[in-house]
Amino acid sequence: MWGIVGQRVFRHGSSAMSLQGTRPAILASRSFSSAAKEMTVRDALNSAIDEEMSADPKVFLMGEEVGEYQGAYKITKGLLEKYGPDRVLDTPITEAGFTGIGVGAAYHGLKPIIEFMTFNFSMQAIDHIINSAAKSNYMSAGQISVPIVFRGPNGAAAGVGAQHSQCYASWFASCPGLKVLAPYSSEDARGLMKAAIRDPDPVVFLENELLYGESFPVSAEVLDSSFSLPIGKAKIEREGKDVTITAFSKMVGYALKAAEILSKEGISAEVINLRSIRPLDRATINNSVRKTNRLVTVEEGFPQHGIGAEICASVVEDSFEYLDAAIERIAGADVPMPYAANLERLAVPQVEDIVRAAKRTCYRSSSLAATA
């Protein structure tokens, strides 16, 4: 269902482009390919992992159900058959054990891709992610490098309850020594996954279960096996001049929809797809805020000490004089995720929340203390 909605938005976007006429050339060339080959995020991840495993024999895959079951979400489909049980390993349900083994293998020079069925289970292994992987390069003064990728779905799914819905972006992004990536589109998924596997440092790769089935157009450049995206660079998904909206992962889609709604009301929103949570592309965010003078940060996770908090601090430190309004933070509700569908809908940000927040920064409506 989401795929269809996505396609509708893009088609509408491209028709809006032709109507307006005067669009910066860079947007036209970067947004949509004329070849219009579509790829789901699932296929993008699968192809990226496949190509990197094929290119480098040191890359191997480890996790629960990655092999025989073809992946809990079918991301690793066909890889066991192609590379064999020496390189695609099914583990018992022992996150602490297999994450430690993966980090130890990385110490020795292999390039493991460790899958967590969801990042909620990464908490079982977080000691190895932080203390054994992230800090080792520093503690050993560069002797030990840990070229490992921890990947899996992050954040809320649909109706899975409190213990299976948390977003871990801010937890991992606060730790020096880690790189944290959050793709949105198929291009992001392919490019960032390849960059993560090739990176000599530990990378936490936060996917989103609800995005796996969504299709996005991909150009020939993206489909090339040498394609990769730089870590630490955000992408401006939609240019605007009135308000900057930052988002990552699924919220980018929501922000783009909100930008559409705002454009009808005469507010031109600039949507930034963060792509890289750590290192954060402070330059792109600040340059955008210096242009628009207003900022709305959007994230799915808990509000306190979240990604939005860090972006607010960064903008206040670097571009305070440019702000014309207080920064608005849209985040998930400060409660464990409820199960009932109506409550769950209230606990995650919706498009209307982003629209309302953007209007508040433009002084279009009275400021309410409403949270997501």
């Binding site: 191997f60 020496d86 390993l89 583990t91 018992p92 022992t94 602490a96 054990g97 297999f98 994450t99 430690g100 083994i101 993966g102 980090v103 130890g104 293998a105 990385a106 110490y107 020795h108 020079g109 292999l110 000691d127 190895h128 203390n131 054994s132 080792s136 520093y138 503690m139 050993s140 003064a141 002797q143 030990i144």
Partner: protein, 269 residues
């Protein structure tokens, strides 16, 4: 050395025959390479495997190097203890004195392509893998000349080129990491093994059993070495505290008893 100094002074002509007699009593230390077979004193207790032979072939020269290494390690740890008490080493300082034989014995039968990983009691293990005393003391005191350039400290010594992977502060974490090293050795088809050392405290850690389970399932070339130094059990200081508490209570009870028996308190009623 003292004896030779005495014999050199002219005034101590009386002591000269004594010195000569004393030097003839000194045992000469053999450096021969004639093979020597030693039987270990305590038998192995095997569990689902064949116990190794108790006869070890060595020679006097090799035994001397063992002694020299262990003695160096012992003196190094005692010196580290003094530095720690003088507050020149900060934070943590876990000493290996008493356990030297374990790492020296291990080193004697492995090579530098075999990997060793241990917890935070790593000074002597690092020395055994080819580290120098200067690197060790520099690291302990936070100097740039340290093996981790002063950024690691006592618990984070590494020597990757000699197959020493640390130096880990979290109890038990080194065991799954060691199984990972063994996994990489098997993956690369190296004919080498990994030694993961841990203690009686880490023996309780769940991740140890998780890693052991996976190692058995995947048949990894890992050897786990448990060094039971009883650190996790009641230690001497705890015992002294209890004794102190006991005697204080005894004294208090004595006073109470005296007060009641000899009616010193009746006057207050």
């Amino acid at each position: 050395m003292a004896l030779s100094h005495l014999s050199s002074t002219r005034s101590n002509r009386l002591l000269r025959p004594l010195a000569a007699a004393a030097s003839s009593l000194c045992r000469p230390i053999s450096t021969s390479t004639e093979p020597l077979v030693i039987e270990t004193s305590i038998p192995f207790t095997p569990h689902k495997c064949e116990p190794p032979s108790r006869s070890v072939e060595t020679n006097p020269q090799e035994l001397l190097t063992f002694f020299r290494d262990m003695a160096t390690m012992r003196r190094m740890e005692i010196a580290a203890d003094s530095l720690y008490k003088a507050k020149l080493i900060r934070g943590f300082c876990h000493l290996y004195d008493g356990q030297e034989a374990v790492c020296v014995g291990m080193e004697a039968s492995i090579n530098k392509k075999d990997c060793i990983i241990t917890a935070y009691r790593d000074h002597c293990t690092f020395l055994g893998r080819g580290g120098t005393l200067l690197e060790i003391f520099s690291e302990l005191m936070g100097r740039q000349g340290g093996c981790s350039k002063g950024k690691g400290g006592s618990m984070h010594f590494y020597k990757k080129e000699s197959g020493f992977y640390g130096g880990h502060g979290i109890v038990g974490a080194q065991v799954p990491l060691g199984c990972g090293l063994a996994f990489a050795q098997k993956y690369n088809k190296d004919e080498n093994v990994t030694f993961a050392l841990y203690g009686d405290g880490a023996a309780n850690q769940g991740q140890l059993f998780e890693a052991l389970n996976i190692s058995a399932l995947w048949d990894l070339p890992i050897i786990l070495v448990c060094e039971n130094n009883h650190c996790k059990d009641v230690n001497l200081f705890l015992l002294l505290d209890f004794l102190r508490l006991f005697f204080t209570l005894l004294l208090l009870w004595n006073r109470v008893l005296n007060g009641w028996l000899f009616g010193r308190w009746h006057g207050h009623c």
